[in-house]
Amino acid sequence: MDIFVQQLINGLVLGSIYALVALGYTMVYGILELINFAHGEVTMIGAMVALAVIGALLGANPDLPGLLVVVAGVLVAVPACMVLGFVIEKVAYRPLRKAPRLAPLITAIGVSIVLQNAAMLIWGRGYVSFPAILPRGRHEILGATVTDLQIAIVALSVLVMVGLVLLVERTRLGRAMRATAQSREVAELMGVNVDTVISATFVIGSALAAIAGVMVSAYYGLAHYYMGFLLGLKAFSAAVLGGIGNIMGAVVGGMLLGIIEALGAGYIGDLTGGFLGSNYQDVFAFLVLILVLVFRPSGLLGERVANRA
């Protein structure tokens, strides 16, 4: 029982990170019907930039309060990724707006490769470790352990997601985004500058990715130039699971995927009589992706992808 609760908690933490990244995929897809495969790399850059800032601050004064240092890292990483997202759209996707759908997919992969290699050149091939400067309190709940960091990740994720939903549902920009997602042509007729809306979508998605990047590196205690690849694929799977193009879908899909993964990793040993271990954790995301694509391609809360693709 306690392993179940423990894995549920771990899954929730992982899931809220997936959800933040999945939101970026789903928002862009909703408006452009484009999978921004460079999005995972934006997450990685967010983590790397934050770690660079954290390292620099600690190098200057090791006695600075840890929480403050991490917050400073986030405050630099978020705008850096926003700029990056803006530039990626402008350079890699906007010139191909009227091109066949395969073309921006290829540039997306190209941007990914460029960002990975740039990160490798700047920060090296090895792991960059996240200094242990955050509060490390532990709490017992139903026989399971919850750390301060886990609570902070989930709470911050929920806060950010509520903010995003409010932005999309209540603001003028959000209304323009939803209108643009339904018909770019008619939105233009209403006086909406669709290019601005598309840029804003990339910028917002990238901000969420930066936050997720810092969270994931804090959670695992490290960052790596290649970390965006797997994280991006999993978040993409989460977006598909929830129904790509649907914001609530990305949240639900992310949380569910995190929980499925954690429970899968927790029980796979027992279920296979020890033949497979928890290192097969990554299999579950893709198993879910395949099952969803076969049995419910529109996702759990999905719109009809078929007639939009």
Partner: protein, 235 residues
Amino acid sequence: MSLLRVKGLKVHYGGIQAVRGIDFEVGEGELVCLIGANGAGKSSTLKGLMGMVQCSGQVTFGGTRLSNLATHAIAARGLSLVPEGRGIFGRLTVAENLDIGAYTRRERAYVRADLERMYGLFPRLAERRSQLAGTLSGGEQQMLAMARAMMARPRLLLLDEPSMGLAPLMVQKIYQTVADIASEGVAILLVEQNAHLALHTSQRGYVMESGSIVLSGPSQALANDPGVKAAYLGE
């Protein structure tokens, strides 16, 4: 001085020329119709005016040139197109559709007043304000599309086939609304296949045939023209 002046407007899609250099005008507060058969280039003309398709020629609106402006910038200058097929946002509510109609306007108090005015003009929309627009009937959607366009406080309203696919009673209602809007002093350029209806509502008209304007004049005179009668009015 006319509100809209078009000189030598050409629209082409790749190699196909849909509009072959037409001249026309719409005066301040005037209701002008553009009639012609299917494929004559009427919708392409409207899309050309809004900058939605590749076009050349001179378009002057209220004294300023519109050529080469982006669609959203043209809309912000006071041209509102109700597109063929209405183009309502089905997954937004009726109220949100109306709200986005006023996207370019910043004075919230006036927008709110206009919203109430639209609900007064279209009580059916008021009843369904929080419903998703996709659940409305065809006629209600046409009303919504017109009300949404009016929320921008346009100086010139472009209507593309407002009667298309509607029951006769609803068509009557829509045309009553067109007349109401015109009586408020908004200039209207009305594109219709239903020549009878269009000529009876408008003051002036142009007849389009395979990309060119072949006839123009007061609507009354056009309605009595033997050629128009034979080709478009079925008399």
